[in-house]
């Protein structure tokens, strides 16, 4: 196996001398099972990177390693300049995380959620207050600051969750299937928010198994059975594989032999 294409690695290396994420031969085994099998990839600051794969392809494990929750069995990775093996605490302080499933407390108000997360990341009260007001203004939520998060429409919740994950100004933010279930316009507003964040220099890693979501990324990788089977810009990946859509490529990778 050739593993990841050298072209992709080269592209990231040229983007910045200090990648936001730099994984080399990253491996994680559980007993005899290799969940993540020597993956190598880089994400530059300001880049939106799509991390794709079917359920069970190893995305979640890889993400746990990169967020400092799980130690690698072999290989190495730095996130925001810190080693995942030895500096997990620093990593957690310098990354943001948002998941569609778990992010905000429905039974706390918008304001309480913001303050709570600010507190978790050790921001002082004045900083929290300042960033809270900025955030509420930007999302147009100022009038709903005292509303319970559970009463907000899903689209607002997602944007709020994303903004809260950025409250401590992390250098890398991880988004786990961020835009499911909302209408197409709300979804695009969310992507514009992601682009704004990336344009300001934050690296954004989006894990998803929705291929249309991947089309919004600058670059993407597709994991199959713990390995990276394809990587590059959406156009490159399609062109290299000779397919018209990512959907087709996905089917070919996931069900070899099924695609006629």
């Amino acid at each position: 196996m050739t593993g990841p294409s050298p072209r992709a690695a080269g592209a990231a290396a040229s983007a910045s001398a200090h990648p936001a994420i730099d994984a080399v031969g990253l491996t994680r085994r559980f007993g005899l099972f290799t969940a993540v099998d020597a993956i190598t990839f880089h994400v530059a600051p300001g880049e939106v990177f799509g991390f794709l794969g079917a359920n069970g392809a190893g995305k979640t494990t890889a993400m746990r390693i990169l967020t400092g929750l799980l130690a690698p069995s072999a290989g190495s990775a730095t996130v925001a300049g810190f080693s995942v093996a030895t500096e997990a605490r620093e990593i957690r302080r310098n990354i943001g995380y948002m998941s569609q499933k778990f992010s905000l407390y429905d039974d706390l108000t918008v304001r309480e959620n913001i303050d709570f997360y600010g507190g978790i990341y050790g921001l002082d009260d004045a900083t929290i207050a300042e960033r809270r007001e900025l955030l509420l203004d930007r999302l147009g939520l100022a009038s709903r600051a005292r509303a319970l998060v559970g009463t907000l429409p899903l689209g607002w919740k997602q944007q709020l969750a994303f903004s809260v994950a950025l409250l401590h100004e992390p250098r890398v933010v991880f988004l786990d299937e961020p835009t499911g279930g909302v209408d197409p316009i709300t979804r695009r507003r969310f992507w514009e928010l992601i682009y704004e964040t990336a344009a300001a220099g934050t690296a954004v890693l989006v894990t998803t198994h929705y291929l249309d979501e991947a089309e919004y990324c600058d670059r993407l990788s597709i994991m199959v059975d713990g390995r990276i089977a394809a990587m590059g810009t959406p156009e490159d990946v399609r062109r290299d594989a000779g397919v018209a859509t990512l959907d087709e490529l996905f089917l070919r990778l996931m069900r070899p032999g099924a695609a006629a």
């Binding site: 079917a54 209408d183 695009r188 514009e192 990512l246």
Partner: protein, 337 residues
């Protein structure tokens, strides 16, 4: 019984609707459901023909689940009425329940039971057995059989959905309601699931399927686009796309990166004839405000307009996707109060 929530047939809304089609598998007229002050479903009317694969496409909160629960007799409507394979779900629920198959949006399997045990249980509920129904479920069962002894909790997302479909089919229902069956499963499993539905359709099964994924519309005979409790449009998918009323242009920036996209987006929104500009994957979709002009000419003009502002981009006319159509309907059909 909740009094005064249902009007006698034909009163009020009746006249506004097409003549009753006796042969329809599903008829809904003015179905309305409120939860407190929230209007979950707002006078929804449609018909589904026997053997049709009918899709309800819309985001969370569009009212898809509420609609399905009304049609499967789990809710009573506040207004309006419906008939499902000849039964009124509000009054004739026991007869209807014997004949309908329903796959709820929420996980509907027993995680501590195995695949075969789940299936056997649902068969017993409908007074039948798995063996007796093997003809109906065979295409799905073939994919599940290798996992027959595995607990449902240990199945992958795609397999869980297939098992839930199998459980909903195990009594050979006359009609199938599938509420967001593909939510949360990966792209390949989604495709396989729709392949199964296509096979059922060939066998003549009437199916109502809801989904938040616009790209699944093309797998349906007809779709209803839903938003905030209302149906925006009902048509064949190709007709929905063809009905897009404005020139649509795809604009691709020459450079890469988020900053370039944001810049292009902001610039295009300044264009005097921009009706809407939205990111669409790595390109942007530009909808022109004017209905008339030739799209090819507009593309050239827009390219020049951008070039004049020092922005390098390629512009080409494209035909609308379901998502473009949905967004157009969303913004052009705002509250008709």
């Amino acid at each position: 019984m909740k009094a005064a929530t249902r009007e006698p047939a034909g009163v009020g809304s009746g006249a506004a609707h097409p003549a009753t089609n006796v042969g329809a598998a599903v008829q809904a007229r003015g179905l309305t459901k409120r939860f407190g002050s929230v209007l979950a479903l707002d006078h929804v009317s449609f018909e589904v023909a026997p053997g049709e694969l009918f899709g309800f496409i819309g985001p969370d909160g569009a009212g898809k689940t509420t609609l399905f629960r009304l049609l499967t007799s789990l809710y009573l409507p506040d207004e309006g009425e419906s008939r499902v394979i000849g039964h009124d779900p509000a009054t004739d629920m026991w007869a209807l329940r014997r004949r309908l198959g329903y796959m709820p949006g929420r996980f509907s399997l027993y995680p501590d039971l195995t695949v075969i045990e789940n299936l056997q249980f649902y068969a017993s509920v409908f007074d039948t057995t798995v063996a007796a129904q093997m003809d109906t479920i065979e295409p799905i069962w073939r994919q599940l059989a290798p996992f027959a002894g595995r607990r449902a909790a240990a199945l992958s997302g795609g397999m869980k959905q297939k098992l839930a479909l199998c459980c909903a089919l195990v009594h050979s229902p006359s009609i199938l309601f599938l509420d967001e069956p593909t939510t949360g499963v990966d792209a390949v499993s989604r495709r396989e699931f729709w392949d199964l539905l296509a096979r059922l359709r060939e066998g003549g099964m009437t199916m109502l399927v809801s989904t938040p994924y616009m790209d699944e519309a093309s797998r349906c005979d007809r779709v209803a686009l839903m938003q905030q409790g209302r149906i925006l449009r009902i048509d064949r998918p190709s007709a929905v796309r063809a009905a897009f009323p404005r020139p649509l242009l795809a604009v691709t920036a020459a450079g890469e990166g988020a900053a370039v996209r944001i810049g292009l987006l902001a610039a295009l929104r300044e264009h005097p004839d921009a009706a809407s500009v939205w990111p669409f994957g790595s390109t942007l979709h530009f909808t022109d405000r004017r209905a008339g002009p030739d799209p090819a000419r507009l593309a050239t003009e827009l390219g020049e307009w951008l070039a004049a502002r020092g922005i390098a981009a390629t512009v080409r006319p494209i035909s609308a996707t379901i998502e473009d159509a949905f967004m157009w309907d969303m913004t052009s059909a705002e509250p008709a109060a």
